[in-house]
Point group: C2
Chain length 137, copies 2
Amino acid sequence: MQLKFDKATGLLPAIVQESGTGKVLMLGFMNAESFEKTLATGNVTFFSRSRNKLWVKGESSGHVLKVEDIRVDCDADAVLVVAEQLGPGTCHEGYRSCFFRRVEAGDLVIAEPRAFDPEQVYGDSSKSQSPAPANKE
Amino acid sequence: MQLKFDKATGLLPAIVQESGTGKVLMLGFMNAESFEKTLATGNVTFFSRSRNKLWVKGESSGHVLKVEDIRVDCDADAVLVVAEQLGPGTCHEGYRSCFFRRVEAGDLVIAEPRAFDPEQVYGDSSKSQSPAPANKE
């Protein structure tokens, strides 16, 4: 199996979709090592571009994503991971999905209720509802 | 509304999810111009990295993607477009979704039936089931 990681960055985009609901939870990037680790452990593992290292989603929050199925697209340069999310939500801002905002008349409008209090899970730094510089954990 | 296009490439990943079924159909990349065009026309429009120009999905096949909802993630560097697909499938290989292959014991296995004959839609060049170098159209 040959995946086509980007020649410049060594990464490819990985979509996570919740099993059962079909909800798209987040998009992260994987390098070859994080993809192999995802396969080997069954826990979705990204490469964090901001911290420049492997990032097991949920390693600090406990909200890990358990792999159920991995799909690869026609060009083999993107993957779709179907996963069960352990915990109330995937987004470090406290929402079930990172895609909790809708484009409406040129603005971003929050489109779903908060699922948990990020302050309790991550501490003070994620309290704000404004976009954070990078995914937490 | 500020989307964070990649500083190096001017692009961000855009997931397309089918309305109704929740099926993830494909992942493409958008630059600011293609995002604006998607908003303005209601037809999902990418930036083709292989052809280095705007790419209205379905412009040659007629299998356009009609925008129903656009979501933006917490970091504002990825979008999720919920769309109706006009036509039998999104993938230029003849499948409903580009993610038609599953990772199984280290191999890629076709996991859904073909929805249409790509030869009839695109001509001879898409006949092969092997991964193509770039999305057609």
